[in-house]
Structure formats: C-alpha cells, structure tokens
Assembly symmetry: C2
Homo-oligomer: 165 residues x 2
DNA sequence: ATATACCTGAGTCATTTACTTGGTTATATA
DNA sequence: TATATAACCAAGTAAATGACTCAGGTATAT
C-alpha cells in the first residue's frame, strides 16, 4: 500500500478544480502555479483522471479541465485509486494467496485495515472539503499568492488575464 | 505513507513470536521457515525491533527472541513504526510546512487520515490477534506445514531437534 | 496564422525495497 | 576445550517506483 505525493497531488489538483469551478475550465498551468506542482507531472496525472472519467477536458485557448461530475459525487478514494492503483494493505491484492497460495498469518489484519482506510476516504467528497472553513482559508491564501505581484524572486512571470477573478 | 512488505513482515514475525511464546526463545530460522521470510531480512528487521524495545534476544544455541512485554501491551502501530519510520499520510510529517512553509490545500485531510489509521492500528494488540480463531487456524496450518515431512520438492532440509515441540 | 493548452511517449535521477554475501561474537553442549 | 548454534553487523545489489524533464504532437479560440 502506498499513499505518496502522487495521490496527494491528484487530490490537491481535483480540489483546486472544485474550488475554482465557477471560473470555467481550469488550466493545468493555473493549478501548477497555485499548488506548486510540476506542469508535466500534472499532465500525466490528469491523463489517468480523465481515463477514470473524473474530469473532462476542453482543448485550445481558454481551455482546461472540469470535474465530470458534481463535487458531492466525487470521493477522495476514487481519486487516489485513479492514479495509484489501489489503497490495499495486503500483498496479495485481497486474493488470499499471500502464503503458498493460501492466506498468510496477517491476511485478515491487512484486509481489515484496507477496508478501514477505504471506507474513510470513500466518505469524503470534494464538496465536503470545499465546505470546510480551514480549507477555504488555505485556498484564499493560495489565490492571493497568485494574483499579488511577487515582491522578491527572479524574473516576474506574466499573469494571464483569464486566470484573474 | 507506506505500508509494504517490510511492515507486514515485522507484524507477521511479531505475531509468530506471540503465538509460539510458550516454547522459550524463538529463533529467526524458525520464523523464517514458518512464515517464508528471508532469514537475513528478518535479522535486519529484528535489529530495529530490538532497538525499539519490542523484543529481547538470547544468544547462543537454543537462543532466539522473546517479546519484551506481554502480548496485550504490544500494538500493531508500534511494530510498523519501529521498522517503517511512521504511518503518516502528510508530506510534511505533520509539521504543516507542505506549501512554502505553510500548510497545503490538503494538509488537514492527510492529518485526519493519518490519525484514523494510527488509531486503528493502535487499538490492535498482538494478544487480540492471537485470540482470533481465523488467525489460530492459519497458525496451525503453518506449524503443521513445518513439522510434517515435505512430500514433494527438492532436497529435504534437516529439521533441528530443538525446533520441534 | 498564431498562441494557447491539452495530449503523449520516452528518458532520467534518486530513493527504496527486499533481498544476498560474508563475516563477527556470545554461549550452550559434547 | 572444541564445536555448533544463533544472534549480530556491514556492505552490496537488482528491480521497482517516484517525481520529475524533454521533446514533440494535436485541437481550437482569436
């Protein structure tokens, strides 16, 4: 079982989509800047998210991605599953073939754990995250980091008009 | 966060110790045969388990390892922690420095998940696993695989007298 | 026509896993 | 006291994975 940056990025990006859903299609470039995720890496992740019908895309200028369902019908477990194979703590993929074709000593324990985690993440929708005050606060911080002129740092990048509210 | 073979092996080996606690110190060679885990790999894992004071060792012939506490005072979470750094779903180690020194959009979510998993595994003692009928059944199967003469296969390995009940 | 932004595949570098190899040291027993 | 047992220890290694970059393509609004 693994839950690494890959799954975290995917959920973060999907949550960014949900938070900015009013502004039409959201470009990966925008997500990349707000969330500090490599654009190319995002493209790879969104390829999988699109295959799993969690997002739909609009090509061309002004294009980007949209959630393919309402935010209260998309759950964190689905997102992690889409990019990360599965949230499974067993070595046998739940098949019970972990010790010479039969189950190993700890098979039941890892099954229970997998179930526990999956139920937890299946109960959390993007909408429920969007509704949280603490998450709204973080979102506002990230958006203002984006729109405010950077004071220090290297060459200032051009900010596209469409990315401004 | 990761839960891989390493953590599973550690818990399996500790459970083997708990199940066979009556037979004096348990050798890693015995665990290796019963659970099909590489002996050298077990040695590495037990080095960490010993550092974390979960087991104590007896050297020399007839030696092996013992649980350093009663089985109802050792919890799965401790074992995984001992070999696996930690069961933490955040990227910042819970410190809240995941986005430019501040928290990232999904920080709270991964904190909640980490807490969930940790509470679950902290509630499961080795004693509670030993008490489970399904686990007892697996244990008996593994012990009889061990003591019965293998019918097919390669060269039969010598079974040391001390490893028999 | 051009710029935007999605889409794709290949390659890379570092890290981790799950081992193996080759020893040393302590101790019970013959 | 020699020997076998079994804990200890350090180093190396092959394969997999993660988190990217690079270098192109293709669709479309302006």
């Amino acid at each position: 079982m693994r839950l690494t940056t890959k799954g975290r990025y995917a959920v973060t990006a999907m949550l960014d989509l949900a938070l900015n859903a009013d502004n039409g299609p959201i470009s990966l470039a925008g997500i990349s800047k707000r969330q500090e995720i490599s654009l190319s890496y995002l493209e790879q992740l969104f390829s999988k998210l699109r295959q799993n019908e969690l997002v739909s895309s609009v090509r061309g200028p002004g294009g980007g991605y949209r959630l393919s369902r309402a935010a209260d019908e998309i759950f964190v477990a689905e997102i992690v599953d889409a990019v990360n194979e599965s949230i499974d703590a067993t070595s046998c993929g739940g098949e019970g073939s972990c010790h010479k074709g039969d189950i190993c000593l700890t098979h039941h324990l890892w099954c229970d754990l997998s179930k526990q985690i999956h139920e937890f993440l299946s109960g959390i929708s993007l909408a429920s995250l969007v509704a949280r005050k603490d998450i709204q606060a973080v979102s506002e911080r990230l958006n203002s980091e984006q729109t405010e002129a950077p004071l220090a740092g290297q060459q200032q990048e051009r900010i596209s008009a469409s990315s401004l509210a």
